[in-house]
């Protein structure tokens, strides 16, 4: 609306055309890496890194089959790494939601005087650089025997996503009419009952948004996974890097593995586009 309404003026037509050309040029060029990844992944063996690049070939799923079967004589198949990624992401999400929902509720209680300060503190932990946490966590995980286990990733991932989770949920609770809570309390409901029976059912869509965001960000994480896992809990993005050694840089395999990592995330993000952007800005942009 904002742009089209100005087309009535002669000179602006050119401006609009330039703007749109730039937009679509950006979008198309931006797709090239993804196109390369997908096309290479369905090329038959032997032509994946052929130069000049082959554009006409018989598409095949061989690369996917070879990646998912335990290959290269190594201990874990890429399927196992994807499973690890899924366990860690879902575990971190479950933890973040379980501790995040009550916290968000507490931060909306009118009798709770520390709520402002605590909300700000939680928001400011988003600034905390993971590289500063990784060395202490590495040392402690080693001492506690948690190295290369799921909890060594689940707890940090939950922590780093908590600012987003708590802020999304807190703002959703604040947007519910307070009268509903009040009416329930007058009727004698405890705070726990208010949370379980009144707020939780209304909060489910926001919890879903927060959960998907946490899944995506945990799935994509690299630094902690690289530092704290060796084989048992190794995640897919870390495993991808070792394809070069394991399979002697088989371009077909590596792009198939890359596609397997990216595909589920891509679907979630595109479907929930608006919620994702709103969530990543802590609800500052709707």
């Amino acid at each position: 609306m904002t742009t089209t309404s100005s087309t009535s003026r002669g000179g602006t037509v050119a401006r609009v055309i330039i703007g749109r050309t730039f937009l679509w040029a950006w979008l198309l060029v931006g797709l090239v890496p993804l196109l390369f990844m997908f096309i290479t992944s369905i090329k038959p063996a032997g032509i994946a890194n052929q130069i000049p690049p082959a554009w006409i070939f018989q598409p095949t799923l061989d690369n996917y089959a070879s990646v998912l079967s335990a290959g290269g004589g190594k201990s874990e198949s890429f399927g196992q790494l994807l499973t690890n990624s899924a366990i860690v992401s879902l575990g971190a999400t479950a933890l973040a939601i379980v501790v995040g929902v009550p916290a968000a509720y507490a931060l909306t209680m009118r009798d709770f005087r520390a709520r402002k300060g605590l909300s700000s503190w939680i928001l400011s932990t988003y600034m905390f650089p993971p590289i500063v946490a990784v060395i202490p966590v590495f040392v402690f995980a080693g001492k506690l025997g948690l190295m290369d286990t799921y909890p060594a990733l689940i707890i940090p991932y939950a922590a780093f996503n908590l600012p987003i989770v708590v802020w999304i949920l807190r703002s959703s609770i604040l947007q519910l009419p307070y009268e509903i809570q009040e009416a329930a309390m007058v009727d004698g409901a405890s705070t726990g009952n208010v949370l379980r029976r009144i707020i939780w059912p209304l909060l489910v869509p926001s919890v879903a948004t927060a959960a998907v965001l946490t899944i995506v960000l945990s799935w994509n994480e690299f630094l902690f996974a690289l530092s704290l896992t060796r084989s048992g809990a190794k995640t897919a993005p870390v495993g991808l890097q070792q394809f070069t050694g394991m399979y002697g840089t088989d371009w077909g395999n590596i792009t198939a593995a890359a596609t397997l990592i990216v595909a589920p995330i891509l679907v979630l993000m595109v479907v929930l586009r608006r919620q994702m952007v709103a969530g990543l800005t802590f609800g500052a942009v709707k």
Partner: protein, 326 residues
């Protein structure tokens, strides 16, 4: 609602006193004080989240502040107190200075370019047409790609022997077989381009949402008064967009300071140490050379620098995201 008699009584007392005084929160003198139970409830609800957050932010911060004054090695047993040695090394070492400098350089260049391009993309994207719905979905694709995967794919595209980029540039007469990651300057440009490819869409989508939320009346009034498009942009659209620009800039700056994956995978800090930003430096010193003391000293310095962003985070993001403030 089922509730046992005792807590019911307690809540009723508090609620009665609150109702008598309207909706104001408890506090002023002369009011019945909150019961201990009522007062501790929110803390009980907060406790698990606070525990997780303290464990992963405050505890590591205490650890690095402590270890920064010692010379512990992860593998070499217990070290001893060495005073400010690590900090002196951190401040005087030329490669550390270089790492901090190029980190700031990278953040500044990437964020500024992404903001400008993001705005340029948001303007045409904000018109709510059917094509733009597709456009917004396409826009998000690079942003949705796992950063480690994106870096890997870029590395293959740039492969001097088999990469698409080299081949198609060669078709247009550029020299063949150039290793763009082998030269400090071109490696830098590649890293910035990768960052722009991933993150400009995020900014464009924030600013698009901002543009779509602006009211139409001021623009229409200005148009009736004969304002030129530039005047309308300069005096109406841009000022109204400032809060959104601030949000995108603050978030993007914080994220850019955390950049690790693309540098680690694409260049590993090389060639030489030319692209070793501080995140890579701390990783190498701490987890590859196992010099925990020095890595922690670097971490302390980095943490202090990043803490300077907290006020912006609270004012720009926090206040705007907070329904209580609006």
């Amino acid at each position: 609602m089922k509730a046992t008699a005792a807590p019911l009584d307690a809540t009723l007392t508090v609620d009665a006193s609150r109702r008598a005084d309207g909706l104001a929160t408890a506090g002023p003198r002369g009011r019945k004080p909150l019961t201990w139970k009522k007062r501790s409830t929110p803390w009980v609800y907060m406790a698990p989240a606070m525990f997780v957050l303290l464990l992963m932010t405050v505890a590591p911060a205490i650890f690095i502040f402590y270890s920064a004054f010692r010379n512990d090695k992860i593998l070499g047993g217990v070290g001893k107190f060495v005073g400010l040695d690590n900090f002196i090394t951190a401040v005087t070492n030329a490669s550390v200075q270089h790492a901090f400098l190029i980190t700031f350089g990278f953040v500044a260049v990437a964020v500024i370019l992404e903001m400008i391009l993001g705005f340029a993309l948001a303007l045409p994207l904000a018109a709510q047409t059917r094509a733009n719905k597709v456009g917004a979905a396409l826009m998000l694709l690079p942003f949705a790609v796992t950063p480690a995967v994106a870096a890997m794919v870029f590395k293959q595209l740039l492969n001097p022997n088999y990469g698409w980029l080299g081949y198609y540039l060669g078709v247009f007469g550029f020299p063949k077989g150039v290793d763009l990651l082998g030269d400090p300057t071109s490696a830098w440009i590649v890293l910035v381009i990768l960052d722009m490819w991933q993150w400009t869409p995020f900014i464009a989508l924030i600013l698009m949402a901002g543009l779509q939320s602006l009211p139409g009346e001021p623009r229409e009034a200005a148009m009736v008064d004969g304002a030129t498009p530039w005047q309308m942009f300069r005096h109406i659209t841009f000022p109204a967009m400032v809060p959104f620009i601030a949000i995108a800039a603050v978030l993007r700056t914080i994220q850019a300071f955390k950049t690790f994956d693309s540098f680690k995978i694409l260049t590993g800090g090389g060639p030489g140490e030319s692209t070793e930003i501080i995140n890579l430096g701390i990783f190498r010193v701490g987890l590859q050379s196992f010099n925990v003391g020095l890595a922690c000293a670097l971490g302390v310095v980095f943490l202090i620098i990043l803490s300077l962003l907290i006020p912006f985070m609270l004012r720009i993001i926090g206040r705007r995201a907070d329904p209580e403030e609006m």
